[in-house]
C-alpha cells in the first residue's frame, strides 16, 4: 500500500495531545434567547475543529465566549487548564494565548500593516521594536503579504487584509486560533489564498477552532466537524463521515441546503 497522501486526501487521523480548550455545560442567554445551551466541547492540542451550522445557531457566540469577548451565564471554559479569568491583567494574558480572526478582518485602520502585527508583541509580550518587526516580517512572509508591510489596511484587498489579520494573531504566539467565518466576507477569487494559509497552519500543528462553511477546508484540514443548531451541539464527527453520512435530520437538512448552492 502506498501511504503517501496527495494534497486533497483527508489527513491521516492524528495523535491528539492534551485537552487544550474545554467547555463544560456552558450556557449563555441574550435576553430571552438561549444562544448557548449546555455546550460540552473539548479541543485537544493540535486538533482542528470546524464548527458548522445554520445562521443564528450560536457559532460566533461560542467562538467569542472562548476568549471572553462574550461572558457566559454559567458553566466553565478553560484554556490549557486555566479557567477564563474575570476582567483585568490575567484576562489580557489569556486573550494573548487565544488568537482570533474575525469575519471583517478588523485590522487597525490607522496603522500600517507592519504596525498592526507588531503592536501586540510590543505592548503585551514586551518585545523591542526591532525584535517585533523582524518577527512580524517573517510572519508576513509566511502569509505572503510581506511586500505590503508599509501600506495602510485600506490599500489592501480583502484576502490580503485577512492574511495580515492571521499574521497579527500569530504574532502573539497563541496556543489556539479561533476563526469566525474568515472567508465569508471575501470575494470568491480571494477565498483560497486565505484557506491555503489556514491549511498550512493546520498542517504545522496549530490548534484551531474554525467556524466556516467551506467544506473543502473541513475535508482537507479538520479532524472533527461540530454541527450546531439552535444553540446546541447536535452532532460531532470526522469530516468525511459528517458530510457523507450525517446522523441527524437537522444536519442532513442543513447539508442539503448548502450543497445545492
Amino acid at each position: 500500500m502506498d501511504t503517501a497522501t496527495t494534497d486533497d486526501a483527508p489527513p491521516a487521523p492524528r495523535e491528539l495531545g492534551e485537552p487544550l480548550v474545554e467547555l463544560r455545560t456552558v450556557n449563555k442567554h441574550f435576553g430571552a434567547l438561549h444562544v448557548l445551551q449546555n455546550i460540552e466541547l473539548t479541543v485537544h492540542q493540535g486538533e482542528v475543529v470546524v464548527v458548522i451550522g445554520p445562521s443564528g445557531s450560536g457559532k460566533s457566540t461560542l467562538c467569542r465566549a472562548i476568549n471572553r469577548l462574550e461572558t457566559i451565564d454559567d458553566g466553565e471554559i478553560t484554556v490549557d487548564g486555566i479557567p477564563l479569568p474575570e476582567e483585568g491583567k490575567a484576562l489580557a494574558h489569556l486573550r494573548a494565548d487565544v488568537g482570533m480572526v474575525f469575519q471583517s478582518f478588523n485590522l487597525f485602520s490607522h496603522k500600517t500593516v507592519l504596525d498592526n502585527v507588531t503592536l501586540g508583541p510590543r505592548k503585551v509580550r514586551g518585545l523591542s521594536k526591532s525584535e517585533a518587526e523582524s518577527e512580524a516580517m517573517t510572519l508576513l512572509q509566511r502569509v505572503g503579504v510581506d511586500s505590503q508591510a508599509h501600506k495602510m489596511p485600506a490599500q489592501l484587498s480583502g484576502g490580503q487584509q485577512q492574511r495580515v489579520a492571521i499574521a497579527r494573531a500569530l504574532a502573539m504566539r497563541p496556543k489556539v486560533m479561533l476563526f469566525d467565518e474568515p472567508t465569508s466576507a471575501l470575494d470568491p477569487e480571494m477565498v483560497n489564498e486565505v484557506l491555503d494559509v489556514m491549511v498550512s497552519l493546520a498542517r504545522e500543528g496549530m490548534t484551531m477552532i474554525v467556524v466556516t462553511h467551506e467544506m473543502g477546508f473541513a475535508r482537507k484540514a479538520a479532524d472533527r466537524v461540530v454541527f450546531m443548531a439552535d444553540g446546541q451541539i447536535v452532532e460531532e464527527a470526522e469530516p468525511d463521515e459528517f458530510f457523507t453520512n450525517p446522523r441527524t435530520d437537522r444536519a442532513r437538512d442543513f447539508l442539503s441546503k448548502i450543497l445545492t448552492h
Binding site: 488568537g99 478588523n106 489579520a165
Partner: protein
Amino acid sequence: MGDYLSGLWTVFEEYDVLAAFWVNIQLTFWAGLLALALGTVLAIMRISPIASLRFVGTAYVNILRNTPLTIIMTFMILALVFQLALQLSSNLSDSYFRFAVLGLAVYHASFVCEAIRSGVNTVPLGQAEAARAIGLPFMDSARLIILPQAFRGAIAPLGSVLIALMKNSTVAAAASVTTETASTMKVAIEFNPDYLMEIFGVFAIGWVILVIPVGLLTTWLSERLAVKR
C-alpha cells in the same frame, strides 16, 4: 466729517482693541488646552468598563453642560476668590485671568468629552474587539486604537467646541477679566455713546475674522485626516 473721523480715531487710540482680542485669544488657548485634557479624561471614563468611572464622567458632563457659563464664572470669583480666598497668582489680575481660564475649561471640557464620544462612535466595534483579542488592556486599547481614530472622527465637532469657547471667552468679564473684548467694548461705548454702532461694528468684525478661519481649518483637517476604512 473731519471731526467725525478724528473723534472715532481717538476712541480707538484710547482703547486698545488688538490687545483686548489678544486677551481673548490667550484665554481661549489656555482654556482650550485644559478642556481638551480634561475632556479626554472624561471621555475615557465614559467608555471605560468600570461602572463607577462611567457614572462620575456622566454626572460631571450632565451637571457642567447644563449650568450657564456665567454662573460658573461668577462662582469661580465669588466662591473661590472671595469666600475661600484662593489665589492662583500673587498678581490680582493674573489671578482673575487664571480663574477665568479654569472656569472656561471645566465648562467646555464637558462639550469636548461629548465631541470625543461622537468620534468614538465613528470607530467600528471590531477595532476595540481586535485590540482586546490581542490582549491589550483597556487603557492601551483606548490610547493606541480607539482615541487616535476617535479624534480624527471628532475634529469637526471639536472645531465647533473651539468656536464656542472663543466666543464664550468674553464671559471672562464675569470673572473680572476687564481687559478682554466684551469688557473693553462696553466701557468704550459707555464713554463714547455717539460712536455706539461704529465701536460695536469693529468688535463684531474682529470676531468674525477670528472665528471664520477656525471653522474652515477644522473642516479641511477633518477631511484630510479622516481614517480610510
